[in-house]
């Protein structure tokens, strides 16, 4: 058992996983989630998927948001269902699941010839995506709470058939630290 604990923790690198709302404190989350599957099962918008072995032995079977399947409207059902308090109370006005990040390589609006796609700008329920001077989308970090609606509707994949990549042009990705109220905090990774 001791060996198992050590091996699971240190030998199989655990990749950051996007947790359902209230599961952002990863240390607390991984200490308390008993992989019961209730949060995944209850989500009415089906945005909770399940992490598997590729996410590390430690994360396998824990819940993971997949915004290709749905988005989150912060209905809190998963938080209510969680029997261990692994998912804590969540305030979508002050916290985030993680911020949305635009990949300019993939985004249709950022293509030299392309452009015109306004889906995420129009779609964001929190008006967190505005336009720059050339009408291209920009995420307002003090408004985005990572609901994933933009990722859910982003058509970049279906227009660019060439790649076979699953990633969409706007994604909500784990491990960008907590949300700091009222600030345009620096975005790590992805954004360029």
């Amino acid at each position: 058992m001791l060996a198992l604990g050590g091996v699971a923790k240190y030998a199989f690198g655990d990749t950051p996983v996007l947790r359902p709302p209230g599961g952002q404190d990863e240390k607390h989350f991984i200490a308390t989630c008993i992989k019961c599957d209730r949060c995944r099962g209850v989500c009415p918008l089906n945005c909770i998927s399940v992490a598997n072995m590729n996410d590390g032995l430690l994360n396998a079977r824990t819940p993971k948001l997949d915004y290709h399947l749905g988005y989150c409207d912060f209905c809190d059902l998963c938080i209510q269902c969680c029997p261990t308090g692994a998912l804590k109370d969540f305030d979508p006005d002050k916290e985030w699941v993680a911020p949305a990040v635009i990949d300019r390589e993939l985004c249709i609006a950022y293509q030299p010839m392309g452009g015109g796609c306004m889906k995420c700008i129009d779609g964001c329920p929190y008006d967190a995506i505005t336009t720059d001077t050339q009408g291209r989308p920009v995420v307002e970090l003090d408004k985005c709470n990572g609901c994933g609606y933009c990722e859910y509707i982003c058509p970049s994949n279906s227009y660019r058939v060439f790649s076979g990549i699953r990633k969409r042009a706007i994604t909500v990705e784990a491990d960008r630290g907590p949300r700091i109220a009222g600030s345009q905090q620096a975005q790590a990774g992805g954004a360029s």
């Binding site: 198992l4 699971a8 261990t84």
Partner: protein
């Protein structure tokens, strides 16, 4: 209805509930936690692990844990026989059948026939020398002092399962996450089902589909006797069930073939917990599976709600007279 049939129905219901929660957004969960919104059963070992891993006692988890603990104290290790998918799974995938039980049953039937009685017969006057009053008294739970063979094999209160439990809890406290959950065969059973469903329904192939069943098979077939030698979940419940007094199997000594001098051991050989319902010691390990009740050729075993020790003693006295 035979108890084993009732158990099959219960387990099927559990699996159905889990499968439903795959397809409908009800969030009823798996056996790690099953319920409706905030009202839910919680795996007692899982709950303990989260307390140790996080050093927080979330009220909801604590309340659920206490309720489950009370349930186990009152009902005993019923989870093992009525809800846990592991023993049926093992049975299903064991192709070489164990014949010792059938042999024992056949032997008792043969002895019965030789004694000129039919199955279910009660006392066969004069056919066989009845046991002495002293021997009869020794058959009754609680008063057993003469050290008959059934009590010689009696299980100890603490065994290797409790060591595994200690290791799991220690490891959980050190590394800060529920360590046993990773390899829990109950969790892995449902995780395997889930992985299969994600593959079919969502085209999400993953190593899990291979790794989980392999883990599971290792536990069930390499660590044989998982339930009575290794399972830390069983260990938690065995500790909690020590005060349990309800639904303990009870042998009607008047009917039991041993009283008639037949060396019957059917109830002992069917019991997966390696208990003898004649012997009260160690009976907290009983999972109320009812195999001894179903299989006893003399229908001498019952699982009454409650049986007072005094009453048992009186019964023996009248028998002895």
């Amino acid at each position: 209805m035979k108890i084993s049939v009732a158990r099959k129905i219960t387990l099927t219901l559990v699996v159905v509930v889990v499968l439903v929660s795959f397809f409908v957004n009800v969030g009823t969960g798996t056996l790690s936690s099953m319920g409706w919104e905030a009202i839910a059963y919680i795996c007692p070992l899982g709950a303990l692990e989260t307390f140790l891993a996080s050093w927080t006692f979330v009220p909801r988890a604590l309340i659920a844990f206490i309720l489950v603990a009370v349930g186990v104290i009152v009902l005993g290790k019923v989870f093992c026989a009525w809800l846990c998918p592991v023993p049926p799974l093992r049975k299903f995938f064991t192709f070489k059948k164990d014949t010792s039980v059938d042999d024992a049953i056949a032997a008792s039937h043969k002895a019965l026939k030789a004694a000129g009685a039919t199955e279910g017969a009660i006392a066969i006057e004069g056919a066989i020398e009845p046991l002495s009053a002293e021997e009869q008294a020794s058959l009754v739970g609680g008063s057993c002092k003469s050290g008959c063979s059934s009590c010689a094999t009696q299980r100890k209160k603490l065994d290797s399962r409790h060591l595994v439990l200690g290791g799991a809890l220690l490891s959980t406290a050190i590394f800060g996450f529920p360590v046993f959950c990773i390899v829990c065969p109950v969790g892995l059973t449902f995780a395997s089902l889930l992985a299969l469903w994600r593959l079919v329904g969502f085209n999400e192939p993953s190593w899990a589909l291979l790794v989980f069943p392999v883990f599971l098979a290792l536990e069930l077939f390499v660590l044989r006797k998982w339930c009575i030698k290794f399972c830390p979940l069983g260990a938690v419940m065995s500790l909690l069930s020590i005060p349990n007094r309800l639904f303990r199997p009870h042998v009607d000594t008047k009917k039991c073939l041993r009283t008639q001098g037949i060396d019957c051991a059917v109830c002992v050989s069917v019991c997966e917990e390696e208990l003898d319902p004649h012997c009260m010691d160690g009976m907290h390990e009983c999972t109320k599976c009812g195999l001894c009740v179903d299989k006893c050729p003399a229908h001498a075993v019952t699982i009454p709600l409650y049986i007072a020790k005094k009453k048992q003693l009186e019964k023996t006295k009248t028998l002895a007279e």
